[in-house]
């Protein structure tokens, strides 16, 4: 930390307080002497954010992938599948979360459901497009060697749609993790707690929350990029080269 403070530029000085907040507890003017911040609290809030994000992502996957695969395989419902993707992008996250808190209530189940709703459109649309763009001659060949429709879907179309599905998953994840940051509005304390609670955690807390949120989002992004490489079949990778 001293290293950062030694830097002459005032911008770096602005960040030192935030790093101190992350690593050691501090006095807060609001909590009546109870200390806030510190690595323990950061980890706890980060874990909540990871947990709800993964839960929502899993829920979105379970719903969106089968629907996308089914319609892609049938070659039907293109307008609907693409329309859902477009409409999903237009949903203002802040309004959705605030509305849910105001009319349904608060808590992790409600939040997970809301995040899953945000995560479904990109996965559904990209799965659909991924299946549609699968090499049609490969599908015809599979039918020719006597595969059933389900086998075609599972052994030919699904592997070919994986890059598309993963593109959708990455888009969803960016959105889910970002929206999980405003989860304190529905009573779930994620890293956004620091960002939205300036009166409790101070400017250092806000900045610390932002740093941790950004790191968390990038970890998700890198993990999924790696996973995408792992899941893409060897044939497709060779084709791309």
């Amino acid at each position: 930390m001293n290293l950062l403070a030694a830097l002459p530029h005032p911008v770096f000085a602005g960040f030192t307080g935030a790093f101190e907040f992350i690593f050691s507890k501090q006095e807060s003017s609001v909590t009546g002497g109870k200390k806030v911040g510190g690595f323990e609290q950061v980890l706890e809030l980060a874990w909540t954010q990871i947990y709800v994000s993964l839960l929502a992502l899993a829920l979105a996957l379970v719903i969106a992938v089968p629907i996308g695969l089914y319609f892609g395989h049938r070659g039907a419902g293109e307008l609907l599948a693409v329309g859902i993707g477009n409409a999903g992008r237009a949903v203002p996250e802040l309004a959705l979360i605030a509305l849910i808190a105001a009319i349904i209530g608060v808590g992790i189940p409600v939040l997970t459901l809301a995040l899953a709703v945000l995560g479904i459109p990109p996965i559904l649309t990209n799965t659909f497009v991924g299946v549609r763009q699968a090499d049609r001659s490969a599908v015809t060949a599979a039918r020719g060697v006597g595969m059933t429709e389900f086998e075609i879907l599972r052994k030919v179309e699904l592997p070919m749609a994986v890059p598309g599905i993963m593109t959708g998953v990455r888009g969803s994840t960016v959105n889910i993790v970002a929206t999980a940051t405003i989860a304190p509005l529905v009573g779930v304390a994620t890293l956004g707690e620091f960002i939205l609670g300036e009166n409790v955690y101070g400017t250092n807390g806000v900045l610390a929350g932002a740093i941790c949120t950004a790191i968390l989002a990038l970890l998700f992004e890198f993990a999924l990029a790696g996973l995408q490489r792992q899941l893409t079949s060897k044939g497709l990778r060779l084709q791309a080269q």
Binding site: T31, P92, E93, L99, I103, T181, G192, I195
Partner: protein, 253 residues
């Protein structure tokens, strides 16, 4: 107020409780009927409140997308010319894309403080990847035969880029602008946290967070604005690529 709301919020701790008290600090006419999902009387009386925020949201979106487009377009042309830049630019814009906008706003606090500039920087950084990717995709999709024909007619590299490749890439480029603009309208709602105004001001306030009518109106305006942008870009796409219509007609005939 709704007692189901109080218990879980209190369980969050001091901050949760604090939040709750802040949220119910003010009384609005319609709060006499907390079960009403939408109060038309309040809406008709208060619709004027949404004028300025709507305009701010529109400005934030347009300025951010314009800056994002200018930057991403130049980056894409550079990457098109110098292939070595392709991977670093894709990764770099990807990182900017993945950082949640709220975090981005706050990371800029020590540098630009709160305000419109902060929101615009974060929002345009978010659009870079979407537009960059689409421009690159559009350029990659240009048929080799078209480029060879142009070269055969004696066009220089620069002429090929501006007269053949970019016009043929218009559908993907406009597609990128479409996605970027629609997403930015939605995300600009969060600009309230950077003190940059916008429709979020009508959601994230002490009185409105527990008042569905105010949230629904703000959300609906944002969605309508996003869909209007979507329609405009679709029209532009159609007008800018007349050969597509000719092709479609030829296929139909």
């Amino acid at each position: 107020m709704n007692s189901a709301l109080i218990a879980p919020l209190a369980a969050v701790g001091e901050v949760g409780e604090n939040f709750f008290h802040k949220r119910t600090g003010e009384t609005l006419p319609c709060q006499a009927h907390p079960n009403h999902l939408f109060c038309w009387d309040w809406a008709t009386e208060n619709i004027h409140r949404y004028g300025t925020p709507t305009l701010q949201q529109f400005e934030l979106t347009v300025i951010s997308v314009l800056i994002g487009f200018a930057l991403a377009f130049v980056l894409a042309l550079l990457a098109h010319r110098f292939h070595l830049l392709q991977w670093p630019l894709l990764a770099g814009t990807g990182i900017l894309f993945a950082i949640p906008s709220i975090a981005f706003f706050m990371l800029l606090l020590p540098i630009t403080g709160r305000g419109r500039e902060t929101a615009i920087i974060a929002l345009s950084a978010y659009t870079l990847q979407i537009i960059y990717r689409n421009v690159m995709q559009g350029l990659a999709n240009v048929p080799e035969s078209a480029k060879q024909a142009a070269r055969g007619m004696g066009l220089t590299d620069r002429q090929i880029l501006w007269k053949v490749e970019l016009p043929l890439a218009i559908p993907e480029i406009v597609g990128g602008l479409r996605i970027a603009t629609v997403s930015t309208v939605a995300i600009a709602t969060l600009a309230v946290l950077a003190h940059a105004g916008g429709l979020g001001t009508q959601i994230y306030s002490e009185a409105n967070l527990t008042f569905p009518t105010a949230i629904i109106i703000a959300g609906a305006i944002a969605m309508a604005m996003a869909l209007a942008f979507d329609a405009v870009f679709l029209t532009v796409q159609r007008l800018a690529t007349p050969w597509r219509r000719v092709e479609a007609e030829a296929e139909g005939a």
